[in-house]
Amino acid sequence: MVLDELKIGGLGSSRRRVEDDRFIRGKGNYVDDIVLPGMLHMEILRSPVAHARIKKIDTTRAWDMPGVRLVLTGEMMAARNLAWMPTLSYDTQAVLATDKVRFQGQEVACVVADDPYIAKDAIEAIDVEYEVLPAIVSPEQALAPEAPLIRDDKANQQDNVIFDWEVGDKAGTDAAFARADVVSKIEMHYPRSHPSPIETCGSIADFDRATEKLTVYMTSQAPHIIRAAVALVAELPEHMIRIVSPDIGGGFGNKVPVYPGYVASILASILLERPVKWIEDKTSNLMSTGFGRDVYLQGEMALRADGKILAVRMHTDSDHGAFFSDAQPSKFKIGLMHSTFACYDIPTAHLTAKGVYTNKAPGGVAYRCSFRVTEAMYFQERMVQAAADDLGMDQAEFRRRNFVRDDDFPHRTAFGFLTDSGQYGKCLDVGLEAIGYEDFLKEKEEAAKRGKLLGIGISTMTEPLGAGNSREYDILGIKMFDSAELRVHMTGKAILRTGAKTQGQGHETTWGQIVAHELGIPAEDVLVEEGDTDTAPFGMGTYASRSTPVAGAAVSMVARKIRAKARKLAAHLLEASEEDIEWELGRFHLRGDPSRGVTIQECAMAAYSNLPDGLEPGLENVAYYDPPNLTWPFACYIATVEVDPGTGVWDVLRVVAVDDCGVRINPMIVEGQIMGGLTEAYAMANMQFITFDEEGNCIGGNYMDYLLPTAWETPGFELHEVVTPCPHHPIGAKGIGECATVGGPAAFVNAVMDALKGHDVRNIDMPLLPDRVYKAMTERTDVSGAPPLRME
C-alpha cells in the first residue's frame, strides 16, 4: 500500500505548527528567558540629540553607585580598538561615540550592574556635555552645498554621499523617451518605517576565561554571519566562538545587522569574566536599530499611445542614516531596486541611485523584503497607475497589455534579471473576478452621484526571492548559499539542522514536511534545530525570503543523498542489485514485485546493524545548496476603499489577494504569511511611519507615536491562489514570506488615489493620513510626507 503523503505531513499538508505548542503555552525560550549563574545586566546611554560634538563625559557618579560593575565609554572602547566596527556594507559604525553623536538614540556609554534597575539608575548618573550641531534629516538637506559634513571621521569623505550607482541602458532609454507619445512622471517618498519585532534585540555574552570560549546568546537572524563578524572584529579565534540564536520573537530584517549592544556586552563579559545580559527596551529598538525604506523616487515612463511601455527611467535618493549598515548583496548598492518592473515587458530602462548620510538612525534594512524590493514594487505600481491615468486607460487593461506573457519565459528584464516562469494574466483575472471588477466600477459611478468616493486599487508584481546564486550574491564576500544536515537515527527518527534561522516562519514544521516528502519519514518524526553555530552547518540565515528557496532546497537535496544511501541498504536487505530497486514514498521495493520491499525505517536500522561489505555505517549527510537562480513568485492584490469627503478618512471595503508562490509546502503557513504581510501593507499605507523634526528628533520612538496595526482595525482578506511551480527549485517552491508586504501597499494607495480621481492629485505620500488625503482633495495638490516635520 502506497503511503498517503498528506497523512505523514508531507507536501501540501496544513499540519499545525510544531513550535506553537510551546509559544502558546508561554514556554518559548527567548534570549531574555535565559538566566546564567552570576549574570550581570547592561544598559546603554543614548544620545538625546541628533548631531553634536561630545565635549565631555563624566562617569564618576555612575561608578560610585552600589552595584555598578563597569562603565564603558567610547574612549575605553578606542583603547581596545573597538570604538568603531565594520558594517555589512563596507562602512564603519561607531560602537560607542567618541567624537560626535550622529543621530538621536546613538550609543554613548554603557553601564554593567548587578540588576537592570541599578543599570538604568546609573545611566541617568552619567553626565555628558554636548555641543549641538545642525541636524540633517533628508537627502535634500544632506546634498545641499552648505550642508555640514556628517561623517568627518572618514578620511576621504568630502560630502554626505555614500554612493552613486547606476544600472541599465542610459542611451537606449533616452532614445525611447525621445520616441514616446506620452511621458508620465511622478515623484514620491517611501517613508521610513521600522520592522519593530515584538521581541527587541538583545544578547548575553558569556566569556569563560578557563576555556577561552565565548558563547553569545543573541537575537540574530543570521548567527553564522555574526560568528564571522565577531571573529574579525574582536579578533577571537572562530572555533572558540559559539553564537546561539534561541527562539526569536520576529526579525523582519531588524535582526540582521550587528549592533553596538552586542559588541559592548561581549567586551564587558571579557573584562568582567561574567555573563553580561543586554536587552533593549522598545524605545531603544525603535530609535536606534535598523529601520526600513526611506527612499525618494523620481520616476518617468515613456509610453506609446496604444498603452505599450517603451522605457522606464528612475532616480532614487535613499536616506541611510548616519552609517551605511544595512546588509546588501555587495554588488548592488541599492539592493535589488532594479528588480522593479520585472513582470512587465519593458524594452529598456535606466536607474540611477544615490545614497546619503543623514543624522538619523542607520538602517535601510530589508524590512520583510528582499533588499529594497518593497520600494521597487511600490514605485513600479504607483507609476503604472499614474501612466494608465495619463493614457486614459483602464488600469487592469494597461497591466495586461504590458505583462510578460506565459510563453515568453525565460525572460531577461531590462535591468538584467532572468525571470523563469509565471502566469501573470491568469493571476490578474482571478483577482478581478474575485473582486467583481466590472460591477465595482458601476457601483463606484453610482456612488459618485450620491457624493460618495469609492476607489479600487490594483498591485501586480513579481519579485526576486531567495538570494542568491553565488555568482552574483554575497555579503562581505561570503557567498549566499545555504545548507542542511540530516541525521537519521536507527529507529527511523531524525534530526535536521539548517543554516537558516526561523523567527516565526515555521521552519520546525515545514522542514519536516520536506523530509516527509523526500523520504516518507513522517514529519512528526523529524526534529528541526537551527541557530546554534556549534551544531548547525554554515548558512547565511533567514531574511529576504531565502529560507525555502535556499535552505529548503538544501533540505530536499540532503534527503535525496540519504535516499541514495538507503537504496544501497535496501538492495542489501532485499538481496538484489541496486538497479532492480524502485522507490515509492517511504519504501523501496523490487522492480516487478512491489510486495517485496523494505521501509525507509528498516533501511535506517540496517545502517547501524546490518551493513553490506564496504558501506560506511550510519545514515547522515549534509548538503550545501547554491541555487541556479532566484525564485520569482507573482502576486495580484486588489483593494477597494471608501473615502470620507468631509474628513479624508478612508475605510477599506475589501481586499483580494492572489498569490502564486509555486508549490505550497504547508498551505496554512503560506496563508498566515500572506495575511501577516497584508496587515503590514495596510499599516504602511495607513499609519506606520517614523518621521523627524527639524532638530532631528525622532517622532515614532514609542508605540503611541509609531502605530502598529491590531486585529481591531485590520480589514479581512480574501485569499486565492495560482500555482506555477518554480522550474529550478527541487520541489517547485518559491519564496512567500514577503510578497504581501512588498506588493500590498500600492494596492491600498492606488485605491485611495483612484477614489480621488478628478481631484487633480497625482500622489500622496504614505501613510495616507486623513489630513493628507483631505488636503490633497480640497487643495487639489500632491502631498509630500518628507521630513522635517514642522511642529507649531
Partner: protein, 291 residues
C-alpha cells in the same frame, strides 16, 4: 519595565489613603487603573517616591443612576463598566457614545473614569464629555468633601485643581433638563490611539427647543477645551442647519490645535467644525424622525 525605586502602599480606607498622601507631602501619587501612571513610570517621566494604590478600598466602584437622571461614577469604576452599561445607553447617549472609544478594550478593563479626569490629559476623552455634560468631580481631603466642576478641574496639561492630599472619590453628572441627546466623535489613527481630534456635544431638548447644551473639545489645546459660547448659542431655539453651522464655527474658533505628525492645525480646526456639525445634525434628524 524598570521604573525608579518607589514605596508602595495599598490602604483599605479613604482616610488612610489621605493620611498617606499628607505624609507624602506632594511627592505621593495615587494609583488607580495605572493605565497612565505606569507608562509614565516605565518611561521614567515620573518618579514619585510613594504610590498609594486605592484599588483595595471597598465601595468605590459604583455606577449609580438616580431617578432624576443624574449619574454618580465611583473612583474605581472602570471604562469597561461604562461601556457595558445598558442603562448608560438609555440615560446618557453622549457618555455612551464615548465609552467604547476610550483607548482599547484591554486598557478599558483597567483604566478608571475618575483617573482619566484627574490625569488631565488634553487628549483624554472623558474630561471633554464631562465638560459637555456640566459634570463635576467630588474630591475628599483632610477637611472633607468638595465638588469641582470638571471645566475648572483641568488647569493645563496633566495639571488638576486637587490639592496634594485630596482624592477624587466620585464623578457626578447632573440631571438633564429635558431629553438628553448628543454624541461623541473621535478621529483616531488606529483603535487604541489617543484622539487626533474629538468632540463631545450634548444637548437637552425640551418642547422642541434646546434647554441646555455643552460642547467639549479634545486634543485641540493645552487642556480640554470648553466651547461654551458655541453651546450657549444653541440654547433657547430648535436645532436648525443655521444654528448648527454657527455653533460649529464658534467651536472651531475655540480650538487652538498645533500641527504635528497627526495633522495640521488647520485640518484639526476643520475636524472640530465637521464633528460638531455631524453630531448635532444627527440629533436634529433623530428629532425629526421622532416627531
Amino acid at each position: 519595565m524598570y521604573p525608579p525605586r518607589f514605596r508602595y502602599e495599598a490602604p483599605q480606607t479613604i482616610d488612610e489613603a489621605i493620611q498617606l498622601l499628607s505624609e507624602g507631602g506632594g511627592d505621593a501619587k495615587i494609583l488607580a487603573g495605572g493605565q497612565s501612571l505606569i507608562p509614565l513610570l516605565k518611561l521614567r517621566f515620573a518618579s514619585p517616591p510613594l504610590l498609594v494604590d486605592i484599588n483595595e478600598i471597598p465601595g468605590l466602584d459604583h455606577l449609580d443612576f438616580a431617578a432624576d437622571g443624574s449619574i454618580r461614577i465611583g473612583a474605581l469604576c472602570r471604562h469597561a463598566a461604562l461601556e457595558r452599561s445598558e442603562e448608560l445607553r438609555v440615560r446618557q447617549p453622549t457618555m455612551a457614545a464615548a465609552a467604547g472609544l476610550v483607548a482599547d478594550p484591554i486598557v478599558r478593563n483597567r483604566g478608571t473614569f475618575v483617573g482619566s479626569l484627574c490625569h488631565a490629559d488634553p487628549q483624554g476623552d472623558w474630561a471633554a464629555v464631562m465638560v459637555a455634560l456640566g459634570g463635576s468631580l467630588v474630591a475628599q481631603g483632610p477637611n472633607g468633601r468638595r465638588s469641582i466642576p470638571v471645566k475648572d478641574l483641568v488647569h493645563g496639561p496633566f495639571q488638576n485643581a486637587l490639592t496634594h492630599n485630596e482624592i477624587g472619590v466620585e464623578a457626578t453628572v447632573p440631571a438633564p433638563q429635558g431629553t438628553p441627546l448628543g454624541g461623541y466623535l473621535k478621529l483616531e489613527r488606529r483603535i487604541g490611539d489617543f484622539a487626533t481630534v474629538a468632540v463631545a456635544a450634548s444637548v437637552d431638548i425640551e418642547g422642541g427647543a434646546v434647554s441646555r447644551a455643552g460642547i467639549g473639545l479634545v486634543a485641540v489645546g493645552s487642556k480640554t477645551m470648553d466651547a461654551s459660547d458655541a453651546a450657549a448659542s444653541l440654547v433657547g431655539g430648535p436645532l436648525t442647519p443655521e444654528s448648527i453651522s454657527s455653533a460649529a464655527d464658534l467651536a472651531a474658533e475655540v480650538a487652538k490645535p498645533r500641527s504635528d505628525h497627526r495633522g495640521s492645525a488647520d485640518y484639526k480646526k476643520h475636524i472640530v467644525r465637521t464633528f460638531v456639525t455631524r453630531i448635532l445634525t444627527r440629533v436634529s434628524s433623530s428629532l425629526e424622525k421622532a416627531a
